[in-house]
């Protein structure tokens, strides 16, 4: 690291690079959440099911995020584990209105840090507390984790989650 980098770091001019893995079952809203976190101008209008994965970059306060937006379809789920190693944090998106597949989400749960209980606007969605219980998150003791209800269509709940993540990664 050169002296200028050190100086820039000290002055908080250069932002820290953070790799994030975004996972969750298909149709849970991962791409929509990532899309919301991007700057207004760069946001896409139509979200289509992701094939394989896509890489997105965005900034938040003091951090530069590189997000690996993984596809949630059954045949791509075995890709997830290969990206755990390189990621500094994991966002796990839950479809809180899909009561049937909560067990599948629990089964696929790796070691995520931030959970988005997405689609909280759906009329029969589970609350964040119910999601915590059904996913068995209360049994995670060795890792910091956080769950927040979100609605990726309006962007509700997303800043809260990212703020928590930023706080965790800075400390």
């Amino acid at each position: 690291m050169g002296i200028f980098d050190k100086l820039a770091n000290f002055l908080r001019l250069k932002k820290k690079e953070i790799n994030i893995l975004c996972i969750g079952l298909d149709n849970s809203g991962k791409t929509t959440i990532i899309n919301r976190l991007k700057p207004e101008k760069a946001q896409a209008q139509d979200i289509v099911p992701t094939v394989g994965f896509t890489v997105e970059k965005f900034m938040s306060q003091s951090l530069n995020f590189t997000v690996f937006d993984m596809s949630g379809q059954g045949r791509y789920r075995n890709l997830w584990e290969h990206y755990y190693k390189t990621a500094q944090a994991v966002i796990f998106v839950l479809d809180s209105s899909d009561r049937l597949r909560i067990v599948v989400a629990k089964e696929e749960r790796g070691l995520p840090v931030l959970f988005f209980a997405n689609k909280m606007d759906c009329k029969d969605s589970l609350s964040a507390v119910e999601c915590t219980k059904k996913m068995g998150l209360d049994t995670i003791r060795d890792k910091p984790w956080h769950i927040c209800a979100s609605n990726a269509l309006t962007g509700e709940g997303l800043p809260e989650g990212v703020a928590w993540l930023t706080g965790q990664l800075n400390s």
């Binding site: 079952l25 298909d26 149709n27 059954g74 045949r75 789920r77 075995n78 899909d98 009561r99 049937l100 597949r101 909560i102 067990v103 599948v104 629990k106 089964e107 696929e108 029969d124 219980k133 059904k134």
Partner: protein, 597 residues
């Protein structure tokens, strides 16, 4: 309602996991033991009703069995819609009846002589089976009754005789109802109904679907129905006209359809006479292909094999030609069967629900998985439910609805339990080439076989004679270490310890009789006194109690320095008798040279 069910399902979940944490390949997605569903495998279906790739569960519920019949639609874990059905539903299928976009399937519910078709969850069309010809005699009787030419009782009598002639199935519903009424009710019933025209209707017994001209997943399908009148009809999906009518020798109960109507198809039907028939395109009459030992309780087709579950607790597989391939014996009665077609993995198996609450999955004849349920399962369906491709719907006898999801990582391993030659048998041995010596020996053996045999026998007899002789001499001279005489049954063993020139000789003596003690014995040794010197050449033995082992020791010193060894004989003698009771011979080891430090 929902919160209560959720709580119970949670508890259930945890308990299940405690029982078999890693073993089960199924995830318990939803458990509702209070769903109050009364239905069978033929009356449930999974369909993408709104063309939004969120598959719904369709259930034709028999209600109480007499009333309250309903078509229920489940979206995920909650009831999405229900609509009343007038009569008991027999079968439910979902099929595409047109090529319109969005591709929403229609639902067909068979009930009595009607098929109710629902589109977008609204009643759309009611199909009625074509009426059958009325028995001429019966028609005539009712006509006479209408014109009051005959009395009601005469009518009943005549109908009764008609029924007894063996044409019970040929009578109309009205006549059969009249015959079953109480005497006081017949008059009014006949008066009410005699003015309407007599019709004979049959009822539907089973229903299936068949793609019309394209084999795509969402291609237009025809309905295939089996009726009580021993006919099979193929219906046009748009106009609901009869495209084909085929006859069977018996009443169909289970139907399995393969192929395309416009190209070529096979309909396999299990009938009430315990036989399985096949129908193909263009045939008017069925071909009997399998004669079962017991009545069928389920029929499935996978590829080229027909799998039939029978009332004698067997699962039997036949080729399409009717050749029996295998039989699996089950521990309990079969309640229902269903095909498990996991398209993503190309895995096809047959699920069998048993009356002991098990659901077994057979891949061909191999049991690959067993699900244990708390209650017997009456309806099974595997397919896409919600957004999950591999969901299993189970409905139990008590009305519970259970949804299980196959784990992504699940594997099915069937063990091959067929008896046959072990694999080692087929491994080729590395046999060396025949040498010249081997060939010569073989030739010699062949030429003088009898001479060789004779020599061998001669030597064998000599050997036996010599061994017998030495045995007799040993007995006479009491040279063996175990005494067989009845008066002094003794056992002797001796051992030498040390490396020389000083040795220790230990003699173990045991009285092996059960009760007689031995007395007046002594031990003595015979040895070359130029080689050895014994500290105690003679040992007096006290009374020997039966069973105990006595040890006597003496020191032996080798007095020769020539490095040779000899034997020492140990005798056990009875006092006053020169012939030893027993003898032991000890081979002394070569003594080490005396080292003087």
């Amino acid at each position: 309602m929902s919160s209560r069910v959720d709580a119970s399902s949670d508890g259930e979940n945890q308990r299940d996991e405690e029982e078999s944490p890693e073993k089960s390949i199924w995830l318990n997605a939803h458990l509702d033991p209070m769903a109050c569903l009364y239905t069978f495998s033929t009356s449930i279906s999974l369909a993408d009703l709104n063309a939004d790739s969120d598959y719904k569960l369709l259930v034709a519920d028999l209600g109480t069995g007499t009333f309250d019949m309903k078509l229920k639609v489940f979206k995920g874990t909650s009831l999405y819609m229900e609509s009343a059905i007038i009569d008991l539903p027999i079968a439910l299928v979902s099929f595409y009846m047109d090529t319109n976009d969005p591709r929403t399937p229609a639902i067909a519910v068979a009930s009595g002589p009607f098929i109710y078709v629902y589109k977008n969850l609204r009643p759309y069309f009611k199909f009625t089976l074509p009426p059958l010809s009325v028995n001429a005699v019966e028609q005539d009787l009712w006509n006479q009754a209408k014109e009051d030419k005959i009395d009601v009782h005469v009518l009943i009598e005549m109908l009764e005789s008609l029924k007894n002639e063996g044409s019970e199935g040929m009578l109309s519903v009205r006549s059969l109802k009249l015959l079953s009424l109480q005497p006081e009710e017949v008059e009014s019933f006949a008066n009410v109904h005699k003015h309407t025209t007599l019709k004979r209707q049959t009822v539907i017994t089973c229903m299936g679907t068949m793609k019309k001209s394209v084999a795509d997943d969402d291609a237009v399908s025809c309905l295939v129905i089996g009726t009580e009148s021993k006919d099979v009809y193929v219906l046009d999906p748009e106009a609901f006209t009869v495209l084909a009518k085929m006859s069977l020798p018996s009443v169909p109960v289970f139907i399995s359809v393969n192929g395309l109507f416009d190209v070529e198809f096979r309909i396999v039907v299990a009938c009430r006479d315990g036989k399985v028939y096949t129908l193909k395109r263009g045939s008017k009459m069925a071909k009997a292909c399998i004669e079962l030992a017991a009545q069928a309780v389920g029929l499935e087709r996978t590829g080229k094999s027909i799998i039939v579950g029978c009332m004698d607790n067997t699962l039997q597989c036949y080729s399409t030609k009717g050749k029996k391939l295998w039989t699996v014996y089950l521990p309990s009665n079969i309640l229902t069967m269903s095909l498990m077609d996991h398209k993503a993995r190309g895995f096809k198996a047959v699920m069998v629900a048993l009356s002991n609450g098990e659901v077994r999955i057979y891949k061909e004849k191999y049991l690959v998985n067993t699900i244990k349920m708390s209650d017997a399962v009456t309806a099974l369906k595997f397919g896409r439910f919600g957004r999950e491709d591999s969901a299993l719907i189970l409905i139990t006898k008590g009305g519970g609805l259970f949804v299980k999801i196959l784990k992504r990582t699940a594997t099915f391993e069937g063990k091959d339990l067929t008896p046959g030659p072990p694999p080692a048998q087929s491994i080729k041995l590395n046999v060396p080439k025949k040498t010249k010596l081997f060939v010569d020996q073989t030739l010699r053996e062949r030429d003088s076989a009898s001479g060789m045999h004779r020599t061998f026998q001669h030597d064998l007899y000599l050997l036996r004679l010599m061994s017998a002789r030495s045995y007799v001499s040993a007995l006479q001279k009491s040279l063996n270490p175990i005494s067989s005489s009845a008066t002094e049954p003794l056992k002797l063993s001796a051992q030498v310890q040390g490396i020389g020139p000083a040795f220790k000789l230990t003699v173990n003596l045991q009285n092996i009789s059960s009760s007689v003690p031995s007395s007046k014995l002594l031990i003595t040794f015979q040895f070359d006194d130029s080689l050895y010197a014994l500290s105690k050449p003679c040992i007096f033995v006290p009374l020997l109690v039966p069973g105990l082992m006595y040890a006597y020791e003496t020191l032996v010193e080798c007095i020769s320095d020539k490095g040779i060894s000899d034997v020492i004989k140990v005798f056990v003698l009875h006092q006053g008798n020169s012939i030893p009771v027993i003898t032991a011979v000890i081979n002394m080891p070569v003594s080490e040279a005396l080292v003087i430090v």
